[in-house]
Symmetry: C2
Subunit: 673 residues, 2 copies
């Protein structure tokens, strides 16, 4: 049993740091760290297996602060236990270039496992981490060698549990029986608007029991009770655990405890003083850390080094007995792919093929050679072509498969993909229809912000999906995904370009890639020699845009993406018949093209050819970038309709004839000037 | 009690129509209509209060097919009961310009209450409708005059209940005690990927009980049991009801019943024949409707006319006793605002004001004069300034307020706003941070598709929110919202433009409007006389873009939106100091500007002034449209950071100095040509 006096000293240290840092920054959220300090201290002093000296230890417990606004709780614990975070950093809370931003950002702060703040995301990432743990254990553990065997702990708020995404991932966590996932629910009865009675009266524990979770309710300010509950949760190995900790937001504040006023603003100098007095805490100095607190916490942190050393010794013996497994494990953990992985890509014959089917063929070919690849779909497996041949799926009690049936849970899928990637050892991909990327958009943004190499397989990418109608036809999605910084959007024109997209996505280490694929069949163009150019189309497509077919001294450029590239090829012939030489540029990825040297970009889109037309079955917004002021963009400035797709393309004017006519019109404009 | 023989005839008629229509279209979803035909027939023949001759009757029961892929179930019932939908229309299932698209679209088909298909949306809309019903009842009903007193029925699928948004709205529905909301849950154990055992094993009823719903479980193929359960649900007035109907997808199909093969593709000619034989149904002709079925259903439909006539008589008496209330009711139902509503807008002095605060001032001023306005926030009430002074909130048992605490449920809020708007009688608005518009994006798209006049109050619109950091700072959101067809995005530069935004939003009848507002204070510019132009800025801002400040023969144009307009004004002065006359254009709304006549657009952005710079604290993508090939766009091509906002603007180069320098550079480009 941990010393109660010391416990309270540590908890009050955190309360003091939270009050003072928010006060100094003149913004922030003091109430949550003050309320959850007790439970968090129990977790971090008596349960959490971690090593502040090495935040990358693969078998560490994962701790996710889903209620990211309480960032000072985490920063305090990181500092106290000895991560690379100083008291000075806490002084600089929420300042430019500090390691203590308003909400935890894993890419800034050692020991922060994932970027949280948007509610519901942390708990979703944690479910992904817990899945990763079970999956790696199934792959790599051997009798006597539990190389991977850790818990995933979460602190979640009312807000996390109100958000729909937490329903999705919690239901799946219960379904899969993630027994090593433990959630401490900060049950403080307060949201920003006031009492939870305004909008939140569900029986949370009963809901989680309905998901097949193990649930407990404790006084979150009773360290012994929290410890007992955590121990019970650890002992429960078949079900994930939810521990509702009844806490008091702004604990100790005479005028603001248990009110929304404690949530998201400084308590005020006077109230800080009164609170410290009530807690029996020195009013001065601010940011006070009693020496015995620091000493205790640092000692506990250092003990994590011993744990890791034990693990390292185990791993060394493992590597002797299972050298290949150990090598594979280390490669996976480092996020690397086996040398020569590109060689396993399939080839394609000239039979028409939907790019989603080409993507499926790529997966079939490469999955056996990429052991860290773990994929799934939000219940559109057959449509997304995401299930590789011969692969089985993860289920309760058996995590040896390589496929996740996410259920009809796009948002949850996105959060889990992020968690799988953040855990390490896993290269995750997930599929849904492109139109439903909207459902998971908050997670795509966070993958981009964190620089996670998540791969999205977005099929049914336009009105080309046909009869399902406008609710299922993306129109604005390509451009709105392109608007997300650091996301690479790749819309291939045929099977070979699809392979290029997968090459790009797998090679990326620093951000997510969205593969945007057709439902309908497309011609498969020749893979290599095109016109007088001899390099392969796969490599050229990987540059984002390239000259697909050219004529001598082209007078106009036709730019297309995806399925519309074939309309551009047909339009080129129509223009040729009128003696107008035109160039066809296939542009699967804006982002990749913009990373090319200026000379390459100029070679593809020479500035002196200003007669240009783009065609893409989506909104035109943004295409001015490439077509310029004489240019014309063909697109779709309305929602689609339910009909066979050939009809839709015709009725919406996305035809080779319209494209050729636009080429002429653009040429006309250049001549008028 | 309804005749069982007739019941089965009707249900099998629906099964036959579903099989035949999908077979003819060669695409669609036969399994769900076949599985839910029994329960739906019970609902439509014994419970539903509606009048096929007038689908706009305000007090009709609302029926929402949340499982929209089962559209043929709804089309069959609409046709059979006598809505303006023919058997010929069902023959044309999923064809160009037909009234029977793949998923139900309310704007195409009389009797379809809302557009469904994306899972979770229908049930969310239904919660909005049920709230609208209670709210209108609280406002307008008087003793003896239950002008509004109807149920909202839903058919929902496994997919609806897996989606997070259904958690959000169901929790709120339970919290509010929406006793007249009744959900039939099609518990068929099958999703697209196969058995629900792959991913879905929660105890749905226990979960709904945790939300304080009334729950029942019945055999969905036993009409008497379904009727009994519906009766119990109707009799339960304090809690919403969920009735889990155990059904068999593709009911009757010898080889496909209870399999995913019945879900989303034609059964095949042979299987259709075998199924009809097993059901004891004539194999020929296809689309067979027994005369007694049509006769019965039409008679039931016609009886709805009598119900409406009774209601009309009641309303006539009501109008005699409460003429003002009746007039207000009719105006609200017709979606009209009281004459002269614009006159109640506030004025502003020159004291700096965040546009979110200006928006709050507008609400305070107009809400007393706009009785149909019902607003709320996803737990950011104080931040969004969405709660008008003196207004109380809706709660269990008391719906007389005018404010909804949605809880931390952005997606649910979006779905409920759509439902409120689709119900009629309500002009809904809802607030959250702009960055969280991502969470509700699927609902914004549907509001746009349906043309619903929903108003979004999106505050904290840029890095201007400061210390909360990149997870809370929108960067790509403005442009990605602009990409949605029919959504008007309005980002005002000051208090007066904020009033203009509200004027636009309230005047709109045909689509949603997003007001994009600052956290930080902004100068309030003079309201009227600007330069040599005498009309008011409110009216000019309503045109989407206008000349805010001009010089004689401007050589450059500085275009800004929102808070960045003030940087443009400062840059203009910097340029003037270098003897370069520049024009400042404030462009709160691209969509409104693009609706202006060409001459107006030319007057604001004259083609001969090609030195142009835009500034907006978001991605540059798309700005090429207005700055042209000599232009430069200042923006933010990365995620933000946690720091005071003044620091962020400076560090990210969004300053008057940078803007003036860009103006010079653009001018330079024009001179090089």
């Amino acid at each position: 049993m941990f010393d109660p006096t010391l416990h309270h000293l540590i908890a009050n240290t955190i309360r003091g740091l939270a009050m003072d840092a928010v006060q100094k920054a003149e913004s922030g959220h003091p109430g949550m760290p003050m309320g959850m300090a007790d439970a968090a201290v129990v977790l971090w002093t008596q349960f959490l297996k971690h090593n502040p000296a090495d935040p990358t230890w693969p078998d560490r417990d994962r701790f996710v602060l889903s209620a990211g606004h309480g960032s000072l709780l985490l920063y305090s614990l990181l500092y106290l236990t000895g991560y690379d975070l100083t008291l000075e950093d806490i002084h600089n809370f929420r300042q430019w270039h500090s390691k203590t931003p308003g909400h935890p950002e894993n890419f800034l702060t050692p020991g922060v496992e994932t970027t949280t703040g948007p509610l519901g995301q942390g708990i979703s990432n944690a479910v992904g981490m817990a899945i990763a743990e079970r999956w790696l254990a199934a792959q790599f553990n051997r009798p006597g060698f539990d190389i991977i065997n850790h818990h995933t702990y979460v602190i979640a708020s009312d807000g996390d549990l109100m958000e729909g995404v937490s329903h999705e991932v919690s239901a799946l966590a219960g379904h899969l029986g993630l027994g090593k996932l433990i959630v401490l629910y900060d049950d403080n009865h307060i949201t920003i608007d006031g009492s939870t009675e305004l909008s939140f009266s569900e029986d949370v524990l009963a809901r989680y029991e309905a998901y097949h979770w193990h649930t407990q309710r404790v006084d979150g300010h009773n360290p012994a009770a929290v410890a007992t509950a955590l121990r019970a949760a650890v002992n429960e190995t078949e079900r994930p655990s939810l521990i509702a900790c009844r806490t008091h937001i702004g604990y100790g504040s005479p005028h603001k405890q248990d009110t929304a006023k404690a949530h998201g603003e400084p308590l005020g100098q006077d109230e800080v003083r009164l609170t410290k007095e009530r807690l029996g805490w020195p009013v001065e100095p601010p940011f006070y850390v009693p020496p015995e607190v620091l000493e205790t916490m640092r000692r506990l942190g250092a003990a994590g080094g011993d744990h890791q050393a034990d693990w390292q010794a185990l791993f060394t013996r493992y590597a002797e007995v299972y050298p290949e497994l150990a090598a594979t494990f280390q490669q996976a953990i480092q996020g690397e792919l086996p040398a020569g992985w590109e060689a396993h890509f399939p080839t394609f014959d000239s039979k028409p093929l939907a790019t989603r089917a080409a993507s499926g063929a790529v997966l079939n070919a490469i999955v056996p050679h990429l052991p860290s690849l773990l994929g799934g779909s939000a219940d559109l497996t057959g449509s997304n072509n995401t299930l590789p041949k011969g692969v089985s799926y993860l289920r309760r009690g058996d995590f040896s498969g390589r496929y996740l049936h996410f259920g009809i849970r796009e948002h949850g899928m996105g959060g889990i993909l992020n968690g799988l990637a953040r855990h390490g050892g896993v290269r995750p991909y997930g599929g849904t229809f492109l139109v439903f990327s909207d459902y998971m958009r908050p997670t795509i943004r966070l993958a981009a912000m964190m620089g996670l190499p998540v791969i999205y397989v977005f099929t049914h990418d336009s009105i080309g999906l046909g009869e399902d109608g406008p609710t299922h036809q993306p129109v604005e999605h390509l451009m709105s995904l392109r608007a997300i910084p650091r996301l690479v959007v790749f819309r291939p024109a045929d099977a070979w370009e699809t392979a290029a997209g997968w090459r790009v996505a797998l090679a990326r280490r620093d951000g997510p890639t969205a593969l945007v694929l057709t439902r309908q069949k497309l011609p498969v163009l020749a893979p290599g020699q095109v016109g007088n150019v001899t390099d392969g189309r796969v490599e050229r497509a990987m540059r984002g845009a390239y000259v697909l077919r050219d004529e001598n001294e082209p007078q106009a450029i036709l730019i297309g993406t995806g399925s519309e590239v074939h309309l551009a090829l047909a339009a080129q012939e129509l223009l040729a018949a009128q003696s107008i030489p035109a160039r066809v540029v296939s542009m699967p990825s804006w982002e990749l093209f913009e990373q090319q040297p200026a000379a390459y970009r100029e070679s593809v889109l020479p500035s002196n050819v200003t007669a240009r037309v783009s065609i893409e079955a989506g909104v035109r917004l943004g295409w001015e970038r490439y077509v310029g002021q004489n240019g014309i963009s063909l697109g779709l400035e309305r929602f689609g309709a339910s009909a066979p797709y050939e009809t839709l393309y015709r009725e919406f004017g996305l035809t080779a004839e319209a494209l050729a006519a636009a080429g002429l019109a653009s040429l006309q404009r250049t001549r008028l000037k």
